[in-house]
């Protein structure tokens, strides 16, 4: 099985590289290398699953040993994991749940999502020895440097994973400041990393963990967080969890004037507004297709609805697999909210919407 690394290929090829094909054909070299050793690759990060541990009934951790292309990560960052499921290369973003210590294994903690997909497949098929593709670590959800003396970590469900990496890193650095971890889960038996957090508490004297299970005491309204946390304004807040929780907390923090002290990690791309608006006509130049983008669809969805099959990965604006050259027109990036009119610009189809008629190199 080949598991290409979920990175977008560079579109610009130098003349020289072109001239000495097939000797410069990276895919061909990778096939040869993988034939000798499935971990070997000329440019792709591949990793072998060396341990699998069950964290709860629906969550497992995979311990990975990456090949030499792995360049390390910062606590809180994520990777795109690529596996081949029934012939289809599928990718999904996961936070690394351990701190970056050199020579150590990487840990991904994966909650099984309803409706099949990558997480479900991993729960059923991930065994020791499985080879997976990885992207380089990415993301800005990392602790400020130097770490603030008072940290508030709000983790909903599997949103605890990047926090575990951060806590490990802080413990490694013998962090002496105060850490308030608010861990939200549905039921207490679904709470992740209880044992590990107890161990960390030994090494981090300032760590206090507050667990809230919604099954017992109802969903925690964001407004109640300031009651649990004394003086939230004195904390730097890191937030990761379900979309609704993040939106609620972000709104509340903005209301308290604390937006600058809040970092958060989103895995789901924001949806394009479905307000009625004029349809945009998109010309896919390479395939000579025309299609229409209706409000409420991303460019990727609109292209797929028109029968085109652009490559895609995480569909959340992270992995850049769906990168596409926009030849002309105005697009808006849903992640950044920024519009761009620049011609010949690379855009991520999965998080872009058209603001004018477009010509895409599709």
């Amino acid at each position: 099985m080949t598991t290409a690394a979920p990175t977008a290929r560079t579109p610009t090829r130098t003349l020289l590289v072109d001239a000495i094909r097939p000797l410069s054909d990276v895919d061909a070299w990778n096939r040869l290398l993988a034939w000798i050793n499935p971990l070997w690759s000329a440019n792709e990060i591949r990793a072998r699953v060396v341990r699998r541990t069950e964290e709860s009934a629906d969550t497992l951790s995979l311990w990975l040993r990456p090949n030499r292309h792995w360049r390390g990560h910062r606590a809180g960052q994520h990777v795109v994991l690529g596996v081949e499921i029934d012939g289809v290369l599928c990718r999904r973003v996961f936070s690394l749940s351990n701190s970056p210590r050199s020579g150590e294994l990487l840990r991904l903690t994966i909650q099984r999502q309803a409706g099949g997909g990558v997480t479900d497949w991993l729960h059923r098929h991930a065994r020791v020895g499985l080879i997976v593709g990885l992207s380089a670590a990415d993301g800005d959800f990392v602790l400020p440097d130097p770490a603030p003396q008072r940290l508030l970590l709000i983790a909903g469900g599997s949103g605890i994973t990047p926090m575990m990496a951060m806590l490990q890193q802080l413990a490694d650095q013998a962090f002496a400041g105060e850490i308030f971890l608010l861990q939200l889960c549905r039921r207490t038996d679904q709470r992740l990393f209880a044992g590990e957090l107890a161990d960390l508490a030994q090494r981090l004297p300032g760590l206090s963990v507050h667990v809230h299970a919604s099954a017992g005491s109802g969903r925690l309204a964001a407004e109640r967080i300031p009651e649990l946390v004394p003086d939230p304004a004195s904390f730097h807040t890191m937030l990761c969890g379900p979309e609704s929780l993040m939106n609620d907390v972000a709104t509340l923090w903005a209301g308290l004037g604390l937006a600058a002290q809040l970092d958060m990690e989103r895995f789901a791309a924001p949806r394009p507004p479905s307000l009625p608006g004029p349809e945009k006509t998109i010309q896919a130049a390479e395939s000579e297709h025309m299609f229409t983008q209706f409000p409420g669809l991303t460019l990727l969805e609109a292209a797929e609805a028109a029968g085109l099959k652009p490559s895609f990965g995480c569909r959340a604006g992270l992995c850049r697999t769906c990168l596409c050259l926009k030849r002309s027109g105005t697009t808006r990036n849903l992640l950044t909210g920024l519009s761009s009119t620049r011609p010949d610009e690379w855009i991520q189809l999965c998080v872009s919407v058209a603001e004018s008629d477009l010509e895409l190199s599709l």
Partner: protein, 361 residues
């Protein structure tokens, strides 16, 4: 020669329904098996190319040269037909593998991918065998039916055909530039230059690879490598040409006029694809080496279905055709190819147009 089948509107609708259902069924069942097939083909082509180029470069004797030539020709045939052609049709796009994506794949032939996708996927597959619209019908140089115009130069078309077969990759490569328009004064020099740019780039790359770079890597053995590459390209040209000509130019492959295909329904489109195409019978190896174009009928019905599936659905397509009374044009390679050659020779002469008959019908 068989005649075109006429179906009622209801029959055409139900034909389209049956074929659509067949496509849906196969699409839903795509999976690991298909992925394994194409990956195996890629490995086989790569291995064969390494073996071929290695033997040409490092061998000393004539036997290793001949084996090397055939290994390289085999690699190029597999890569062009079973991999390149099919991948660029988007047959494996569902795998989401960037190295097998129709958006980026480029093949080992002088024809630029953007030219191919336009002239083949867009024009030929939509306008199959419509005279004047399908530029692949006779490639603008051969007269294969009475309906095409005759000129004295047509008398020499067996010779033109021989040249086309030998230089087939070049014929394919310049096809989409549409030189005919330039010679008729319907294209400016500037537009011609612009249209030929992808071709020039690709051809330079291919020529450099086969006739400069790899020979140079062999030092004093360069004549051996250069000649070997030339022969491998020639074998590939002759083979692909023979297979491709059997696809639409056999005796029973029908042609269509612009007027009879105006406002086609889905059913009429399917019917034309079946009647304009012809299949070749042979073993599994033969189908693979023809890129499954031996299942031309199935390929024209479902151009983006992974090719090995054509062999699986062929009995069902044949059964559907039988029920609707549509001629399912299928025979062995030699008999089909002979009927193509016959057409080339027969229509070199000023055969009369059938317009009178068509009007009577």
């Amino acid at each position: 020669m068989t005649h075109k089948t006429q179906l009622t509107a209801e029959q055409l609708d139900s034909l389209a329904g049956e074929l659509d259902a067949l496509r849906t069924e196969v699409t839903a069942s795509l999976g690991e098996r298909d992925a394994r097939h194409i990956r195996r083909m890629v490995r086989r082509a790569q291995g064969s190319a390494i073996a071929g180029r290695g033997l040409l470069m490092f061998g000393f004797d004539p036997i290793s040269w001949v084996v090397g030539v055939f290994a390289l020709a085999h690699a190029k045939i597999l890569e062009n037909m079973e991999i390149g052609h099919n991948v660029m049709h988007g047959q494996y796009d569902w795998m989401n593998d960037p190295s097998l994506s129709s958006q980026t794949y480029d093949w080992d032939i002088v024809c630029a991918r953007e030219h191919w996708i336009n002239s083949h996927n867009v024009e030929h597959h939509n306008h199959t065998n419509i005279l004047g619209k399908d530029h692949d019908y006779g490639y603008g140089m051969l007269r294969l039916t009475r309906e095409q115009r005759w000129s004295p130069a047509t008398l020499l078309q067996p010779l033109w055909y021989l040249l086309l077969a030998i230089y087939f990759q070049w014929g394919v490569a310049i096809h989409d530039i549409k030189l005919g328009r330039f010679f008729k004064g319907r294209m400016s020099r500037k537009e011609l230059k612009q249209r030929s740019r992808p071709f020039v780039r690709k051809a330079t790359r291919q020529l450099f690879k086969d006739y400069v770079f790899f020979p140079a890597l062999a030092f004093w053995q360069w004549p051996r490598v250069l000649l070997g590459n030339l022969c491998a390209n020639l074998i590939r040209n002759l083979w692909t040409n023979a297979i491709i000509f059997c696809g639409h130019f056999t005796e029973d492959a029908q042609t269509f006029s612009r007027s009879e295909t105006k406002n086609e329904t889905r059913g009429q489109w399917y019917l034309r694809q079946i009647q304009g195409s012809s299949n070749l019978e042979g073993g599994r190896w033969f189908h693979v080496l023809s890129g499954h174009l031996s299942h031309q009928i199935e390929h024209h019905l479902f151009p983006d279905m992974p090719a090995p599936r054509y062999a699986e659905i062929a009995p069902r397509v044949r059964e559907i055709c039988q029920r609707y009374g549509i001629h399912y044009n299928s025979a062995g390679f030699w008999s089909q190819y002979f009927s193509v050659l016959k057409r080339i020779f027969v229509h070199a002469w000023p055969t009369r147009r059938r317009t009178a008959v068509a009007n009577a019908a």
